[in-house]
């Protein structure tokens, strides 16, 4: 034991600091091994044969020519699925490979394993797929009429006979959006020699993958180890399985490792989209602008398989009114089955579509009342103690709706823009637009979304904290998708333990239980709370082991005396604690959609300033200001990263990002034509963080990363409306919508 008096050290890299990501440097230098970079000795390459029609009956699949090619080891179809032939998180309705019918453009029909990627690709092309084309169902009204309904969520609240004096109605469309992660789908499956398999694939929740993979591969759960992956982006697109079952089947069949990497076109058909939507709204208010009733019908395009549509439509329905009080509400939300691309999770998870419609309605209402749009929103802002307009749930946690609106409105507007640098003008380097043709507009929007899982789902996250002489290791199966969970968990463990030397070990499904999904803005609070509780227990155990009263990097202290270094403390063995954290239970909705369905909420407000060239319909977003509810800024730099990235994504859907569909066929399945904002399109961002600590999040933190995207889209559109006077009821806003708003020009949707 040491008796040297050294004084207490404060922890480095704790909560509230902008400590950098541990993988920041390798990602910048190219040393980081992404999924697509993985290699195993003796591995084969997989490829997928797809059907490039939106709807067809499969007459025959003939693999003879492919199998006869040198270097081809296996060709598998739906008949070869060893176990359950369908996958899906909740309802398993998606065939692992097409079964009898093609239901969307690019649906996989067969898979191949071969010596090299080129041979695998040629063999996949050599598979003869004989199809009889069928009429695709791609129209939402038609799908509703035919009863192709995954889920209908009704909300009936208040008095159906109460009406307001001022009425505004509108129909709104949000097109299908792609999450567009830069890393395409990739995976590696390695047989373990005893009938099982280790599997790396793009995921946001290894344990939900495990459940599906074990069933489809006919293996016991402990025979499949779903490994944490190193992803190049997710945004929701990795919540559903893509190629995992396929590489698992191939690897088990040929008893060799199998790797598969999608190209960009395959990636566009290989992951889920944000649901396209068709929404009709009617808002009624009194003369002072107080909402009296809101009626809405929301149709979401689910594509052919259920995936997460049942939960997405719940969000669309419950957040149909936005962060406003209203006591009389009727909403009918429908998730519909079509032959458009499969839809699923994407940042905001069903809250974005109604946010566009409802915020557009609030602007219409402000206009009808002659009220300032900010004032109208403040008059209706949802505050703690109020009831959520749809479900009637009383807001019991901090919810700074008022503050986010006031803060964003208080930020000074950017200057008028006098410079002639073409990069700062609409049209950019194309030199389309002289400064004197530019019209400026300003728009506001506010968004609300739930945190964690809702509607009675028992939501949990496991974590284990292990303290040794080298510091602490945090074990979790939560997935780091680039969002910064690794840093936040380190920070929580450091500040809780008092020890700076902390690293996070991402475990596979055989090593630790579920941490739940990296989605729903949930891991900072869920995995974070599990780590907080485990680290708290480890600290108490450490103090108890040697009778100390404080722990820091030097070890355990009693008063001013260091009683044990970390090495001495853990000489007899590491100190560890495992925690399975659950948030407080939520209700299932009653038949009117009422109840305490959500555990918590988050809000943000955006103000967009745009420059528009009305003659050409070109838009440049000059600045977006945001007031963001964060609970507690755990890592200010990462938080700003989420805000800036989220704003770029929301801006993208406002003015360029659209999966162009033509009777179920994607016309722009490439980054040549699916345009993402470049750094010249990304606006200057002004952010104000509202820190009202959550009563239950670790150190007061809230999940927040979906909000920066949500109301960015309607704020940009509102600003374009302000500049041009066009109604703009559809996103993305295309140049022709500004130039000739009533002329859709024969384009699909």
């Amino acid at each position: 034991m040491s008796d040297t008096l050294t004084g207490r050290r404060s922890v480095r890299g704790g909560v509230g600091t902008s400590v950098p990501r541990p993988d920041a440097t390798p990602k910048v230098t190219g040393d980081f091994e992404f999924l697509g970079d993985m290699h195993a000795d003796g591995m084969l390459w997989g490829a997928t044969r797809r059907a490039w029609v939106p709807h067809a009956r499969i007459v025959q699949v003939d693999a003879d020519a492919a199998l006869a090619m040198p270097g081809v080891h296996a060709v598998l179809t739906q008949d070869d699925v060893p176990g359950h032939r369908y996958q899906g998180q909740a309802v398993t309705d998606q065939p692992v490979l097409a079964e009898g019918e093609i239901r969307y453009w690019g649906e996989p029909v067969a898979i191949v394993a071969a010596d090299d990627p080129e041979t695998a690709r040629l063999a996949a092309d050599a598979i003869v797929v004989d199809l009889e084309e069928l009429d695709p169902l791609t129209d939402l009204e038609a799908a509703l009429e035919r009863g192709e309904i995954f889920r209908h969520v009704p909300v009936r609240r208040g008095n159906p006979d109460l009406h307001g004096e001022v009425v505004v109605e509108g129909t709104y469309i949000t097109s299908t959006e792609d999450p567009a992660p830069l890393g395409t789908e990739a995976g590696l499956a390695i047989p373990d020699g005893t009938g099982g398999v280790d599997l790396w694939g793009p995921t946001q929740w290894v344990h939900i993958d495990l459940k599906q993979l074990a069933a489809c591969l006919a293996l016991a759960p402990d025979q499949v180890r779903v490994q944490p992956c190193r992803l190049g982006g997710a945004f929701g697109s990795r919540e559903d399985l893509s190629l995992q079952t396929h590489i698992g089947m191939l690897a088990l069949r040929v008893d060799r490792p199998v790797k598969m990497v999608y190209d960009r076109t395959e990636s566009f058909v290989g992951h889920v989209k944000r649901h396209g939507s068709l929404m009709h709204y009617r808002h009624e208010a009194d003369r002072d602008g107080r909402l009296v009733r809101v009626d809405a019908r929301i149709l979401l395009d689910g594509g052919p398989y259920q995936l997460t549509s049942n939960a997405v439509i719940a969000n669309s329905t419950y957040f149909a009114v936005g962060p406003y009080r209203c006591d009389n509400v009727t909403v009918d939300g429908y998730a519909l089955r079509t032959n458009n691309p499969p839809s699923g999770a994407m940042r905001g998870f069903g809250s974005n579509q109604p946010c566009f419609a409802a915020e557009s309605q609030m602007d219409r209402l402000a206009d009808a009342l002659g009220l300032d749009p900010v004032e109208l929103r403040l008059r209706n802002a949802l505050r703690p103690g109020d009831q959520l307009a749809t479900t009637g749930q009383v807001i019991e946690e901090p919810l700074p709706t008022d503050e986010v609106i006031r803060s964003v409105a208080s930020i000074p507007l950017p200057d008028d823009g006098s410079d002639d640098d073409p990069r700062h003008l609409p049209g950019g380097t194309g030199l389309t637009t002289p400064r004197d043709r530019v019209v400026r507009g300003v728009g506001f929007a506010v968004g609300i979304k739930n945190l964690e899982f809702s509607e009675g789902f028992d939501d949990n996250a496991e974590a284990r904290v292990v303290l040794t002489g080298d510091g602490a290791v945090v074990h979790t199966a939560a997935i780091e998708v680039g969002q910064g969970l690794v840093t936040v968990l380190e920070q929580i463990a450091r500040s809780t333990l008092g020890v700076s030397q902390v690293r996070v070990a991402f475990d596979h499904t055989g090593q630790i239980g579920s941490a739940g999904s990296t989605s729903a803005s949930r891991q900072t609070q869920m995995a974070g709370n599990a780590v907080l509780e485990a680290a708290t227990a480890v600290r108490e155990l450490a103090l108890a082991r040697v009778g100390g009263d404080d722990l820091d990097d030097d070890g355990v202290w009693r008063g001013d005396t260091l009683v044990a270094s970390l090495a001495e403390l853990t000489a007899e063995g590491p100190i560890e604690q495992h925690v399975d954290y659950h948030h407080r239970p939520t209700d299932e909705p009653d038949e009117a959609g009422q109840g305490n369905l959500h555990v918590d909420f988050c809000v943000a407000a955006h103000r967009a300033v745009v420059d528009v060239d009305p003659d050409l319909g070109l838009v440049r977003v000059v600045e977006i200001a945001i007031g963001q509810d964060v609970g507690r800024a755990m890592n200010p730099q990462q938080l700003l990263g989420q805000i800036e990235g989220g704003i770029a994504q929301g801006l993208g859907h406002a003015v360029m990002e659209e999966v162009v569909l033509d009777r179920g066929v994607i016309r722009n399945a490439s980054f040549t034509d699916y345009l993402l904002p470049t750094c010249l399109d990304a606006p200057h961002v002004e952010a104000i963080l509202i820190e009202q600590p959550s009563s239950w999040g670790p150190f007061g933190a809230k999940g927040m990363a979906e909000l920066p995207t949500m109301s960015a889209t309607p704020a940009v559109v509102a600003a374009i409306r302000a500049a041009t006077g066009r109604p703009l009821t559809r996103v993305p806003v295309r140049p022709e919508d500004i130039v000739a708003p009533d002329d859709t020009g024969g384009r699909a949707r």
Partner: protein
């Protein structure tokens, strides 16, 4: 896949003559996209980057291997402006004027300049050279008059280069975007005006009526500019596709051509 890497022009011409169906590779910014997306599987490729003769840019001759990066800093204002709109710096460092001609996309960004200036395309083979006016070389969307065994050596510009030049391009992003409409206007001091429009017809085209009008106006009035705009919109023949509607392109072509002409009129 067989890849040849000739070191000089005679070797290149011999190689191309010997494998007339080999695919010619310059910057690869179009070809490699097609290869990577498995749209194209060339049996043989002849890579031309090492052929110094193709990099020549002197007097009115621009070698096929001249990159956008060089055009961007070169002496011709419209060529510099259009080069800046192409892709990212990485793409501009390798993409070439010869490749843009060879691909012959209706939206090719060098093509409005070449059409407006009435460039000739210089073609070579082991049997000799020939020159074709731009409109005889560009025969349709992604179709050229290049015959097997031939390579684009470069473009020959006329002796007289109009002093006033401007290029503009519409795309729904601030940079790195394929043209929805592009446009080049050249104007002489005597008022002679040449206009070429891209992405609004099967190949780049010249709105001749509009040109005649602008050429007849030493100092065009607002009314003349209105009429010029109307004529351009009337003369183009765009289609609707996933990038824009026919109606938008027709409207935008007129606006863009007028503004580009206005830039040439500004002292």
């Amino acid at each position: 896949m067989l890849i040849e890497r000739p070191q000089d022009l005679p070797e290149a011409l011999e190689g191309i003559g010997g494998s007339p169906h080999a695919v010619l590779l310059a910057g690869g910014t179009d070809l490699m996209v097609e290869v990577n997306l498995a749209h194209r599987r060339p049996e043989a490729v002849i890579a031309l980057r090492r052929v110094d003769d193709l990099q020549t840019w002197e007097d009115g001759f621009i070698g096929a291997g001249v990159t956008y990066a060089r055009m961007e800093t070169g002496p011709l204002p419209a060529l510099a402006e259009l080069a800046r709109t192409v892709g990212s710096p990485q793409i501009r460092a390798v993409g070439t004027i010869g490749g843009n001609l060879g691909t012959a996309s209706p939206a090719g960004d060098t093509l409005p300049f070449l059409a407006a200036i009435d460039a000739e395309v210089v073609l070579g083979s082991r049997d000799g050279q020939r020159r074709l006016p731009w409109h005889e070389f560009l025969v349709g969307p992604k179709q050229t008059a290049l015959t097997p065994g031939e390579v684009i050596l470069g473009v020959q510009l006329p002796d007289h280069i109009p002093a006033r030049q401007a290029f503009a391009k519409i795309g729904t992003r601030q940079a790195m975007v394929i043209a929805t409409v592009n446009c080049c206007v050249l104007r002489d001091d005597d008022g002679t005006t040449r206009v070429a429009m891209g992405a609004v017809a099967p190949t780049v085209m010249r709105p001749r009526e509009a040109e005649r009008l602008a050429s007849s106006e030493p100092r065009p009035s607002q009314a003349a500019l209105d009429e010029f705009q109307r004529l351009v919109s009337a003369e183009v023949a765009p289609i609707s596709d996933h990038r824009a509607t026919e109606q938008y392109r027709r409207h935008a072509a007129g606006v863009l051509a007028r503004r580009t002409l206005e830039r040439c009129l500004t002292p």
